[in-house]
Symmetry: C2
Subunit: 198 residues, 2 copies
């Protein structure tokens, strides 16, 4: 049995916004690990509307505070969708800066803790999804380059009936319980996540 403390860091999709069960995908995968007998301390540090530029300034202090070095601390990141939202005629964070932010955040983080990166989720807007898909591909390259496991969730969720249907019926971006459960399944079956509980 492993005893770990995990910080989930990112935006509203990490927070689980829209899930009436208040677990999101992060809570679900930690509960599953607990039910298999693992001792998991679950810290959810998802913040609504946060861009990667904002996250870059925030994550280290909040994470360090929760993961003292005498314990087995881990980080799972998941961010980027808010960067692609159009405001005043342009994305909130331009593509190159998003990629640079991801590289910086992940490089610093992996010197401190084991790190995983869960990719960008699709929303119910075809145009924004093009920008999200491009970012997901670029994040995958960055992660490959610096040796951080990356999970592409855009591809499977883009064709998920539940994810898109719940997002459309909600606010156009966030699903409800079934959508988060579907995303949780993807992460839960992912080898790099499973390897944390061997």
């Amino acid at each position: 049995m492993s005893s770990v403390r995990i910080c989930f860091v990112g935006e509203s999709f990490v927070n689980g916004t829209g899930d009436p069960q208040c677990l999101g995908w992060a809570g679900r995968i930690c509960a599953s690990a607990c039910n298999l007998g693992h001792d998991v301390t679950y810290y959810n540090l998802g913040v609504r509307r946060e861009t990667s530029t904002e996250l870059k300034e925030r994550w280290q202090k909040e994470v360090s505070y929760r993961l003292p070095l005498e314990h087995d601390g881990r980080i799972v990141f998941c961010f980027g969708v808010n960067d692609t939202t159009i405001e005043n005629g342009k994305p909130r964070v331009d593509f190159e800066t998003s990629v640079e932010n991801a590289r910086h955040i992940l490089k610093v983080a992996k010197q401190m803790f084991p790190v995983l990166m869960v990719g960008t989720a699709p929303v119910a807007d075809l145009e924004q999804n093009q920008r999200i898909a491009r970012l997901s591909t670029a994040f995958a390259s960055v992660c490959d380059e610096i040796d951080v496991p990356y999970l592409d969730i855009f591809t499977p969720l883009q064709t998920s009936e539940v994810w898109i249907k719940e997002a459309l019926a909600n606010d156009g971006a966030h699903p409800r319980a079934a959508g988060y459960a579907e995303l949780a399944q993807l992460v839960q079956n992912w080898q790099p996540w499973l390897s944390w509980f061997k």
Copy 2:
């Protein structure tokens, strides 16, 4: 239907440490509110081992970051048990400082947001419980003085078979799912909490 964003701020009991369902009492009461049709964004800012002295330096930045003024933000505090732990022959935070910390934190917080205070929970150690009970009474007075609703959970949980049994079988302090569900019931039936969802 109300739309609120709530930060739960405090120690491991806020985090829900020990609950294999990864909800704790805070997640349970937010899920209940959601199931009644309310739109609740749930931010859990519980940190293990944190004293009130540490919390005093931390809460404001993390809360302000999550509760932009254009949204309906709220705070529920629950802290103090770690103050009463003996280290090097004395409590980690002495009684007078704990009380002063609570007064300071709550005074500042209530100028910014609607605030509730959930009291200190008993543990499975009779001696420490005497210090916890004393703190709970003092916190109740402070809250009365500065007009913040305070929920005494020490009295009911002290005689709760589930709470004490689960804490004993676990690590001596934190219950499992049933204990947290019992605490959730106490908060959920509390008038000041219910009044947030009228």
